[in-house]
């Protein structure tokens, strides 16, 4: 695949934004200012960005509890997200949702989800709507190796197959569901794509720590689905660099595992090496993006801290559209 300079710079910026956002949260959570459950996406950036870079705002995605990366890749406002995670009035969801429930319908991000497996059926619904719209749009469900064991995910895959709607099941296999390994929990010899095939849809596999492999493999899938061939799935082999949630002691990791992952499976490092070796971009250009992104995240945190708390008088607002 050919990428022009702007595309490459943009992809790097988006991946770097996710990484910096998550690394900053990892530090800020230690201050005690952010409570609740925060599941960091660092390590999996190539998946969200490699996929969302090929979508329009009219393509809908549904996300998971580990949703920050999907949000940023789909175009959610980074400052609004940070405020949401701080539980502030200016948050994308007015501080009501928090890290696990960020949504921005205007950019086609139908919501992160605290219920594992909650999202996949909704992507089928988005695909039904997309087909009616008739413009080749798609509905995408991001799911983990844990979520692929949930009945809702099975039902969604079968529903998509029998209705032949343009639904896409993206399985991010980071090899853990909380503390349990995919080798234990995914019965099909930890092969999720074959499960999708078993439901009767075409499935692809890619290296989810490589932007280019993810992008080009997903491009084939997307062309197939946009052409009206029905649903499809892709399994991305990827890694998470932090604990399941912040505060996880990660005793299930092997010795030196995290260091090795950071060394060998870092999608940002791989991207940098690839584009600089091919002399497509210079290290200076990438460094400049790094600084800009860090500055953006600094601002986002400062503004989130300074933002007002939501007005408690509104605690029961927005439950309904009318009658209440």
């Amino acid at each position: 695949m050919q990428f022009n300079r702007d595309e490459l710079l943009g992809a790097y910026r988006r991946m770097k934004t996710i990484r910096a956002f998550e690394e900053r949260l990892h530090d800020e959570i230690k201050t005690g200012e952010i409570a609740g459950f925060t599941h960091l996406y660092a390590g999996q950036e190539a998946v969200a960005v490699g996929i969302c870079d090929q979508l329009t705002v009219d393509d809908k995605i549904v996300s998971t509890h580990r949703g920050h990366g999907h949000c940023i890749a789909k175009g959610c406002d980074v400052k609004g997200m940070m405020k949401e995670i701080y539980g502030k009035a200016g948050g994308l969801c007015k501080g009501r949702g928090g890290s696990m429930h960020i949504a921005d319908l205007e950019v086609g991000m139908l919501g992160a989800n605290g219920i594992v497996g909650g999202g996949a059926p909704q992507a089928v619904g988005a695909a039904i709507a997309a087909r009616l719209q008739g413009k080749g749009r798609v509905g995408i469900a991001f799911s983990g190796d844990g979520a692929c064991n949930q009945g809702t995910t099975f039902e969604a895959m079968n529903l998509a197959v029998v209705t032949k709607v343009p639904a896409i099941f993206v399985f991010e296999n980071n090899h853990y569901s909380e503390h349990t390994g995919d080798a234990y929990a995914v019965g099909t010899s930890n092969d999720i794509a074959s499960r999708a095939e078993g439901f009767g849809m075409k499935a692809w596999r890619a290296n989810g720590c490589d932007y280019f492999d993810t992008y080009s493999t997903f491009a084939q899938l997307l062309e197939y689905v946009r052409a009206g061939n029905g649903p499809a799935a892709i399994e991305l082999d990827t890694e998470r660099f932090y604990g399941h949630f912040e505060g996880d002691p990660q005793r299930y990791r092997g010795k030196g595992e995290l260091d090795r992952l950071r060394e060998e499976r870092d999608c940002l490092k791989a991207f940098r090496a690839r584009v600089t070796e091919a002399v497509l971009l210079s290290a200076d250009e990438l460094d400049a993006i790094d600084s800009e992104v860090e500055a953006l995240i600094d601002e986002a945190v400062a503004e989130a801290r300074a933002d007002d708390l939501p007005d408690p008088a509104g605690v029961a607002d927005d439950v309904y559209v009318e009658y209440y």
Binding site: G87, R96, G98, N149
Partner: protein
């Protein structure tokens, strides 16, 4: 008597009961933890730390780590119970009742009745519930009222380590499906726990305070909040009868009615939205059965009719507070 917290009381009771009765099995997500990883099994022992050591002692056929599949967890527990076992199924968060509701409601709860009393379903479902840790709309709910409304289920909510032991033991020795609710903010609550064999009967409320001026009925975390209110009110010479329900099904109606007959004033505290809540249920029961004793309308202290918000101050505004309980007590006392 040993001093321990609620978490330790649950862990030690599970160990003791599994030793005593080899029909008891445990299943749930990460109840072992570490399966299929480099760290190996028992890397964690449950994210709430309520099942460490079980797998090591009782082995993988009795202590079963499941994939993320709540319908199958509860359904498997139901089937094992029909097959002579005593499963303890863990829902990491009570909110996941949403995923598994059919197996609880249409299956487990109804077998005995539908099958003409020929069978029993001695399953225990442990549910981690409650707000207070900013875990937001899908990880903070107190779904006990919904399950209390379902004939066939028993619903248990320990608030002390002694009750955790006594009620869990009772659940494991009984023959009906029991929904065993553990409030996520109460695991660290310490107290004395009777040694040896100790069962706490269901349907016997715990008398936390005897004050005589007003009856406050609460369960779960709302019991300690009511105690805080009682301390404040006590300073003004107002005495509270405080009942900790321990179980909402069966419900200790007698204890509630006896107290209200003395005080004539009722406040029910419930960590849920008000509609079809436990508070509404008890207020209605008292209004019907003790109408002539009442000197004021029963008061309900509940959350608002909304999901649970994330932001710290919003969550605080949502959860019934000691202040709101105190205010409600003063209101019913002021009623003329």
């Amino acid at each position: 008597m040993a001093v321990m917290n609620i978490r330790e009381a649950i862990v030690s009771t599970l160990h003791a009961e599994m030793e005593r009765d080899e029909d008891i099995i445990v299943l749930g997500e990460d109840v072992v933890g570490g399966n299929g990883t480099a760290g190996g099994p028992e890397a964690i022992g449950g994210i709430w730390g309520t099942s460490p050591g079980l797998w090591e002692k009782f082995g993988p056929e009795r202590v079963i780590d499941t994939p993320i599949s709540e319908s199958a967890i509860i359904g498997a527990a139901a089937g094992a119970a029909l097959s002579g076992k005593r499963p303890v199924a863990e829902l990491m968060f009570a909110d996941f009742v949403g995923v598994s509701l059919d197996q609880i409601w249409n299956q487990m709860a109804k077998f005995r009745y539908m099958f003409g009393g020929k069978t029993k379903c001695p399953a225990v479902v442990r549910l981690v519930y409650g707000a207070g840790m900013q875990t937001a709309a899908q990880h903070s709910q107190s779904v006990y009222a919904m399950l209390t409304s379902m004939p066939g289920l028993k619903v248990v909510l320990p608030t002390t380590p002694a009750d955790a032991k006594g009620l869990l033991t009772e659940a494991l020795r009984g023959d009906d499906p029991v929904m065993f609710f553990e409030h996520k903010t109460l695991y660290g609550v310490k107290g004395e726990v009777p040694d040896g064999d100790f069962r706490q009967r269901f349907g016997e409320a715990r008398v936390v305070r005897e004050g005589g001026d007003v009856t406050v009925v609460a369960c779960g975390r709302m019991v300690s909040f009511s105690e805080k209110a009682a301390d404040k009110l006590g300073a003004d010479g107002i005495g509270m009868d405080l009942l900790d329900l321990r179980t909402t099904s069966p419900l200790d109606e007698d204890a509630i009615l006896e107290s209200v007959e003395q005080t004539g004033r009722l406040v029910v505290v419930d960590e849920s939205p008000p509609r079809c809540s436990l508070a509404a249920d008890i207020a209605a029961m008292v209004s019907e059965r003790a109408f002539t004793s009442l000197k004021a309308p029963p008061a309900m202290v509940t959350a608002p009719h909304s999901p649970i918000p994330f932001a710290r101050n919003l969550e605080r505004a949502w959860v019934p507070s000691p202040q709101k309980i105190e205010d409600a007590v003063r209101r019913v006392l002021a009623f003329r």
